[in-house]
Assembly symmetry: C2
Homo-oligomer: 215 residues x 2
């Protein structure tokens, strides 16, 4: 069967997968699931992914995969070239740490379901929502910038001149931050890596504005 | 040099590492960093970990590692026996997905810094804080329980009868939930796996109440 990706143009975790698949040259049939329309909680989607979140990958053999970082590591093990995780054990730990700073500490606090919930529970208006967003972006990018600087392994990308899972996490997070008026000019390493990533065909061709479900 | 772990007794991510190290029989010297006293933002700690979060592992060769899941994978690659991540590619993706449901979607919304921030930004009182906590626990455990059920790979533990990184994420999350009055009785698979994990010496010996910095 054809590989299937369930995606939403503005979902950062879906964007991670789109970059990874494009970078590895793996074709897929996209299925667009609108988060604002709550299509991820429709019975049809829940039947495929009971967790009710994006993204979902169904590979050619029919196996389903959830959680974007787990899927990227799966793709890297199943389709090793070009690699997205380095071979050396210490290098792997570094790439995973950078990825997880974003995936475990920044994105979870600022995705749509959380922004909706602070409105529901605390009555957050637009200004309060932006303040919440900016707080976690500032906290996250400050820590990430410091970590990248201290580790001293960044060059063109987070890990030297190789595109890795870390860059795949960084790009959608910067897109998201810019959309919420949090520019990354104050984080020179992050900004430079992002600008370099924006030269990659795998990023250019999969960015939110290129997607059929973009509005 | 002796392996060093920077830990706080109640930190779920530190607890993950304590279990992993104990399960693999890897000795370490603990350094206690109090999150309530903000010792993770002291200059001395920031010099070691600029991100200013726990845990931090410094291995015998002096290399530093951050981000608990990245550290567990590092330990598993550096010290393979007994394994915490299975060998088969699909199995690895499953174990990582379960781990990330907890590490990327549950824990980040309910850790101390977030609970502090909803108090600062929204004036959340104890009841509102508990409601926030319970919302994400319910959402997370519901999705996790459904995913475990649908995948059908759980038995004694999340992945058959093998202890994996997934169980190491599950145990501290359940401890944390119980502490915030969110019992797991409504999630029979999670509860059974947790109860089985509580028979493991690596869990019994590293649980928060056993730690020298416990209060």
């Amino acid at each position: 069967m054809t590989r299937q990706l369930y995606t939403f143009f503005r979902s950062s975790t879906s964007f991670r997968l789109r970059i990874a698949l494009a970078y590895k040259g793996l074709a897929y049939e996209p299925h667009y699931v609108s988060l604002p329309k709550m299509e991820h909680r429709d019975a049809a989607y829940l039947a495929l992914n009971p967790q009710g979140l994006l993204p979902l990958l169904i590979d050619e053999d029919g196996s389903s995969y959830i959680q974007s970082l787990a899927i990227i590591e799966y793709l890297d093990e199943q389709y090793p070239e070009p690699p997205l995780v380095p071979k050396d054990i210490g290098d792997r730990a570094y790439v995973r740490a950078v990825s997880q700073i974003i995936a475990c500490e920044m994105h979870p606090l600022n995705n749509v379901r959380v922004l909706k919930h602070i409105k529901t529970q605390f009555g957050a208006d637009d200004a309060a929502t932006k303040a919440w967003y900016a707080h976690w972006i500032t906290e996250g990018f400050r820590g990430l910038e410091d970590y990248l600087a201290r580790a001293g392994r960044h060059r063109t990308f987070c890990f030297g001149d190789q595109v890795t899972m870390a860059d795949i996490c960084l790009v959608p997070q910067v897109f998201n931050a810019v959309r919420f008026d949090c520019p990354v000019d104050g984080y020179p390493i992050i900004k430079r890596i992002f600008d370099n990533c924006m030269q990659l065909e795998a990023v250019i061709s999969t960015q939110p504005s290129t997607q059929q479900d973009a509005f």
